[in-house]
């Protein structure tokens, strides 16, 4: 269970680096249905919202933490903000630092502000992701 007095400020660093590949960029671009030439060809740049891939991986780390008691199927995404320093490129070796910046519990729901710092091989920030996630407690959702 989440507890503001224990978990605000909780910080998780990614364990395995994420390697940005051409095929993953093309897969992401195909899902978006965007034919921008920047995202195509042998050496594509990733669309800005490729940041979602790293954001989702970072959330998974929070969800996998048994201390927090979170379940993906009970999470609704309420707000999102991305701030870019540059776009992802093929060959980037990415790590993340995930911070539970704020937590309020109201009416059987956790309101979590999660910030993900997405860093490259030089520890320079590529993009910062800030999300408001609403997590329903188990007894509020049918099994």
């Amino acid at each position: 269970m989440l507890d503001p007095s224990l978990h605000i400020g909780k910080t998780l660093r990614s364990v395995e680096p994420y390697l940005v590949s051409r095929d993953k960029i093309l897969e992401f671009t195909r899902a978006l249905g965007d034919d921008n030439p920047l995202y195509q060809g042998p050496d594509p740049t990733a669309p800005p919202t490729f940041a979602a891939v790293l954001t989702v991986r970072a959330w998974q780390q929070l969800i996998d933490d048994p201390e927090l008691g979170l379940a993906l199927k009970r999470i609704i995404h309420a707000d999102q903000e991305f701030t870019w320093h540059r776009l992802f490129r093929v060959g980037d070796v990415i790590s993340t630092v995930t911070v539970l910046e704020d937590l309020r519990i109201r009416g059987g729901m956790d309101y979590m502000t999660v910030v993900v710092h997405v860093l490259d091989q030089d520890e320079a920030e590529v993009v910062q992701s800030r999300s408001l996630l609403i997590h329903k407690h188990a007894e509020e959702a049918a099994a």
Partner: protein
């Protein structure tokens, strides 16, 4: 370069269940509310909804196309997921309609406000995109 117009769109993009599955695979977000009607109903939704991040990614295309494809000029992108985008189990999907306008022209960045709607109802709200100002190039 030629001056950028101060309005964007309307542009229309289609979201289908199939596209949503492609996005689940591409993004790694396998939340079952995006592929199981049963699991979506368990959470109080009428049925499968698309990923907010997918809607967000598709809507940004209106801005990057307006920038002539130069997506590296996007500085920040912020919004609220106002309403879920419900996906019928058919091949046609739903249309996302995007219009935008430049609401601030700073020296280094411009701010674009987007309206993103599905069937006449806003699905994203408070949508603000900051882009590098054109004269910076």
């Amino acid at each position: 370069m030629t001056a950028l117009p101060l309005t964007i769109g309307p542009e229309t993009y289609t979201i289908t269940r199939f596209g949503t599955l492609l996005y689940a695979a591409a993004s790694g977000d396998w939340n079952p509310i995006h592929w199981s009607d049963r699991q979506a109903r368990n959470l109080g939704l009428p049925g499968v909804i698309t990923h907010g991040l997918y809607t967000m990614g598709i809507a940004l295309r209106a801005v990057t196309d307006w920038l002539g494809g130069d997506a590296s000029r996007v500085v920040s992108y912020k919004l609220r997921f106002a309403r879920p985008v419900l996906l019928p189990d058919d091949d046609d999907g739903v249309d996302l309609r995007v219009i935008g306008k430049v609401v601030a022209q700073g020296e280094t960045t411009w701010t674009v406000r987007l309206e993103v709607a599905c069937a006449g109802q806003p699905v994203l709200s408070r949508v603000s995109v900051e882009v590098k100002a054109p004269d910076q190039d």
